[in-house]
């Protein structure tokens, strides 16, 4: 029987190169504050492969892990799959998603480092809920800036976060300069980048407060490795093999979590396919450049595949995927063709989600619908990528029980796909500094 892993596994020693260093933005000057626990930084840059999971975090993991893995025979049949499709399901915890895996770890480290309040931004609300839960467990205050459009369409996300003790603000909010600017129409509204930017600004204003982030950072991807580590054991127990692993990508933590342990176990042996939203096609149509991670413009610039932090992202029911850039770790792997990517429209994702609901009796989050649609394309040989020949593992990163309105609108034919137009994409990245070969050499120091 599969057991809960006692260690996270880092992919960094298996890459064969270092990640490019971050850049200091020209707008940044003045004193520096160390706002992240050192253990998280060690986990981001050290070449140590295995990291012991602290017992207080393991204790919480035991409430909901190992998460289930099953062969989705009903879904296979419904889509006409030529290969087995295995599902790893991360929706079975109070946050309804994989986000709790890193929220618990981060809250533990921040609390141990002496912080008393965590501040964050959230899109779909899964990360905000996860952090609220983790703060409740570790006795910390929690403040969440949630993309306003998303909060209004999913009010029970706000209810759940407040039930867990968090303070929730719709972004743009009147609490921050950035929010006021956006509220006046002078800046982008309703993006995850803005919500994160508000959280960064708010965190600077209080004693004992720290900003923390749910996806994209290398340490959060490390924490998510429990997904892939369990899946490897569970597939072995089932006597199954797969040649392809699929996950959806906002910044990349659930995809990294399910896929990178396969890479670490044997680089190149398994295809890793990132399913992104066609509304934010950073991995398929973006450029590899230094870009901002949030709307403040004061955080370090990271090397990432991006559609531009200033890109006006079209509306989507998958708020968790409405982020302009991919994690620098995944971006570096994409640059070297160590991962593949496929863009999926939201209608296609919701259709896949509906089929999955009716065949597997689990309602996937719309974000996870992108992964299911990509898995279907690979399973039947439809689309630009080569089909799977031996089997697919797909991560269903969360449940969609608080996204039923999106399914209703889709069912009523009220959901349009707004793929990013080429001219807007080019304009949004025009001023970014591309990552040069020199930067990659610097990263290899």
């Amino acid at each position: 029987m599969t057991r809960l892993p006692g260690r996270w596994r880092s992919v960094l020693p298996s890459l064969g190169y270092e990640l490019p260093p971050d850049l200091t933005p020209d707008s940044s000057s003045g004193p520096i504050t160390a706002g992240i626990p050192l253990e998280l930084i060690r986990q981001s840059i050290s070449r140590r492969e295995y990291w012991e999971i602290p017992e207080p975090v393991l204790e919480q993991y035991r409430r909901y892990r190992p998460s289930p893995l099953w062969r989705a025979r009903g879904y296979e049949q419904a889509i006409g799959s030529r290969v087995p499709i295995w599902v790893k399901y991360e929706g079975g915890n109070i946050s309804g998603s994989h986000k709790l895996n890193t929220a618990l770890a981060q809250a533990y480290y921040y609390q141990r480092a002496g912080y008393s309040e965590l501040v964050t931004g959230t899109g779909a609300g899964q990360w905000g809920t996860a952090l609220a839960a983790a703060c409740a467990v570790f006795g910390m205050s929690c403040t969440v800036f949630m993309v306003g459009h998303s909060l209004r369409s999913k009010p029970y996300r706000g209810s759940l976060m407040r039930l867990l003790g968090a303070t929730v603000h719709a972004s743009p909010s009147p609490l921050t300069d950035l929010g006021v600017l956006a509220g006046s129409g002078a800046a982008d509204r309703n993006s995850l980048s803005l919500a994160i930017g508000e959280a960064v600004e708010h965190a600077r204003g209080g004693q004992g407060r720290a900003f923390c982030i749910g996806s994209g950072e290398t340490y959060s991807i490390l924490h998510q490795s429990v997904i892939g580590l369990e899946a490897i054991d569970q597939l072995a127990e089932a006597g199954a093999t797969v040649d392809t692993v699929v996950g959806c990508v906002g910044a990349g933590s659930n995809f990294g979590g399910v896929a990178l342990p396969f890479f670490a176990a044997g680089p190149g042996a398994t295809r890793l396919v990132a399913a992104e939203s066609s509304a934010t096609p950073k991995l398929t149509r973006g450029i590899y450049a230094y870009d901002r991670t949030d709307a403040t413009g004061t955080s370090p610039l990271e090397a990432m595949y991006t559609v531009g932090s200033g890109f006006a992202i079209p509306p989507s029911h998958s708020a968790g995927l409405r982020y302009h850039g991919a994690a620098k770790l995944l971006s570096a792997m994409r640059r070297r063709d160590q991962i593949e990517a496929l863009a999926v429209g939201q209608q296609q994702a919701l259709t896949a989600g509906r089929t999955f609901t009716r065949t597997e009796l689990v309602v996937p989050a719309p974000e996870s619908g992108h992964a299911l649609a990509a898995a279907a394309a690979l399973a039947v040989g439809d689309g630009p990528l080569a089909p799977s020949r031996a089997g697919i593992l797909v991560c269903v990163s969360g449940h969609g029980l608080l996204d039923l309105a999106a399914y209703d609108r889709s069912e009523a034919g009220d959901t349009a796909d707004q793929a990013a137009d080429e001219a807007s994409l080019r304009a949004a990245v025009a001023d970014l500094r591309p990552v040069l070969d020199l930067d990659l050499l610097d990263g290899a120091r």
Partner: protein
Amino acid sequence: MSGASRAEVSTLVKQLVLRESRLSIPPSAIADDEPLNGELLKVNSLGFLGMLVHLEDELDVQLPDDLFAGRTFGTVADLIDVVAGQVAGPSGDGGRP
């Protein structure tokens, strides 16, 4: 290298801030009161934390979070003082020269 003197820590810190700023000048050219993120040096918050981890490796020590949490670092000397205070060697000069 635990038990390093303040001078050794100073040289190491200056090497790291130069590398972080992508500058090719000798550590001795950096004044103790040089701003970490100013006109010459360009150290960002994540780079600063990465430097601390490199310092741990070089000095063979583990720097506790409470040395840094809630504290601001303006100059090279601010960082040297904190690290030297943590690893003060037999020369006994963990403080400023």
